[in-house]
Every structure is written in structure tokens, then in C-alpha cells.
Symmetry: C2
Amino acid sequence: MPTMTAAQRRAAEKRDYDAFLDGCKSRALLDRLTDKWVTLVLAALRDEGTMRFSALSRRIAGVSQKMLTQTLRNLERDGLVVRTVTPTVPVTVDYRLTDLGTSLALLVLQVKGWAEQHMDLVLQHRDDYDAAHA
Amino acid sequence: MPTMTAAQRRAAEKRDYDAFLDGCKSRALLDRLTDKWVTLVLAALRDEGTMRFSALSRRIAGVSQKMLTQTLRNLERDGLVVRTVTPTVPVTVDYRLTDLGTSLALLVLQVKGWAEQHMDLVLQHRDDYDAAHA
DNA sequence: TGGGTTAGGCACCTCCAGGTGCCTACTTCC
DNA sequence: GGAAGTAGGCACCTGGAGGTGCCTAACCCA
């Protein structure tokens, strides 16, 4: 059978897509950046240098302990953040960016800069569009 | 009552967080970039200049029509993409980046560049971490 | 003696982004 | 006459990201 049904073609495309994703580093990075709190943690650590868990959870208002822990674990796992435990009486844990983490944070800040410069325009477009298609 | 319970404090933080998000342009931008297909569409349009719907769905293997449509609508709504309908016999629709869209696409490509340079290191860290914490 | 602090662990629940399938209306090709 | 291509619309469904609440263990303070 030389031809394919639409369903067969889509299945083939999906295989391509999956294979593509496995080797796609930018997708992997995007998945990390996509996490709701990652960029906020990067920004906070870049501003403050070193922060304790409690300081981070205060600075990033609204984050749950679970999500902050999860986010920091992932960043540590990826070598973007170092975790230092000091066995004082209630144990103290410090987090800071690695060089790698810092270089990524700088990029994230560029995106933030774009947003601050251009998002007003985007929101304007959005309102116009909504008004036109009401 | 001068003190707060932990629950009260968290509720207050959540209010702060919500208020914070409403005025946060970079968060709004991130929400857009977060959409699974947005970056791929930006990259494709930047490479090819102008593309038809079907060309995009072929280029971005694995995307469903629904998601491609939704992604393009959002990008159009935000003024990052222009949609041009040509009433040929089966109607033809072309998409291309606006200047605003192009400037954002360039930023996205920088992130992609970071990924291509450094993701190996990240993945290495990830493996080491997993090995150490097995 | 009960509450606050430290940095989380664990279990359950919710909600929606994204996926799938089926539909159109017109035309051209086999 | 049936299939494929054109650009989607619409309804339904599921997985997993993210949230909530309750737990610890050792200490301090009022």
C-alpha cells in the first residue's frame, strides 16, 4: 500500500515527533523553564546570592513548601543550584546558583526584559483582537 | 491578634502572590511561551518567513490541527503573527511573524542556543545526581 | 505544655492543557 | 463516485502539574 490514511500519517508523524523530542535539548530546557516557579527561584537567587529555604519561600510569596522543594531539587539535580546543609540545631540549608545556573538566569532576565519592554504592546493587541472578534 | 497561624500567613501570601501576578508582565509572557507548540511555531516561521497552515503542520511533526490552530490564534491575538486569508478555491491561509514576533523569536533562539551549548552538561549533572541518590 | 522554628516527606485531590475523533464545504484528481 | 487536500470547529476524555493538609524531630520560649 503506497498511500496512507490520515490516521496512519498522523501516527507516523507522532513517531517522528517523539523521536525528535528525545534528542531535542532545547525542548528539555524549555520543560525545565516551564515549571511554574523555576524562573522566580532563578531570579531570587541571582538577586540575593545565597538564600535559605525559608528566605526563598518568603521572597517567592505564594509558593507551597512542596513545590519549592521540588523546584530546588530539580535545579540541584541539573547542576544549576548548589544545596548546602549546615547541621545547626534546627538544620540550616542554603541555596545558591552555580556558574551554569547564573548563565541561564541571565538569559531568563533577558526574556523578562523583553516582557517589560513589549508586553504592553502585546496586551494592547490582545484587547484590539478581542474587541474586533467580540 | 498580632500573630498569625501558618494557614493565615499562607493565605495572605497567596493574596500577595495573586496581586503580584496580575501586574506581572514577564509571567504573562512566560505563560505564552509555556504553551507546548509556541516556540516551535516561532522557530519555523522565522526560518521559512511565510508558511501556510498545512506547511506548518507538516513541518512541526506531531501537532494536532486543534493545537496548531489554537497556538496560531493566540499568537495572532498577541500581535506576534499575522494571518492572511486568500480566497482561492480551497481557501489559502498564510502566517508570518510580525516585527514584534521576530524580536521575540530571536530571544527564543538565544535560549535554544544556550540549550545546545550547555544541556549536555546539565544532563551529565542529572545522571550524576541520579547515580548518587539511587 | 503547647506553640513556633528548621526543612522538608507523604497522600490525596483538582483542574485544565493537550490529545482524539468526527464534522464541514468546495474542488480536483483518479 | 470515492478519496484526498484546503483550514479549521466542536465535544469529549485523560494525565499530570500543581495545591492542600497533616506529619516529623529536635530545640527554644513564655
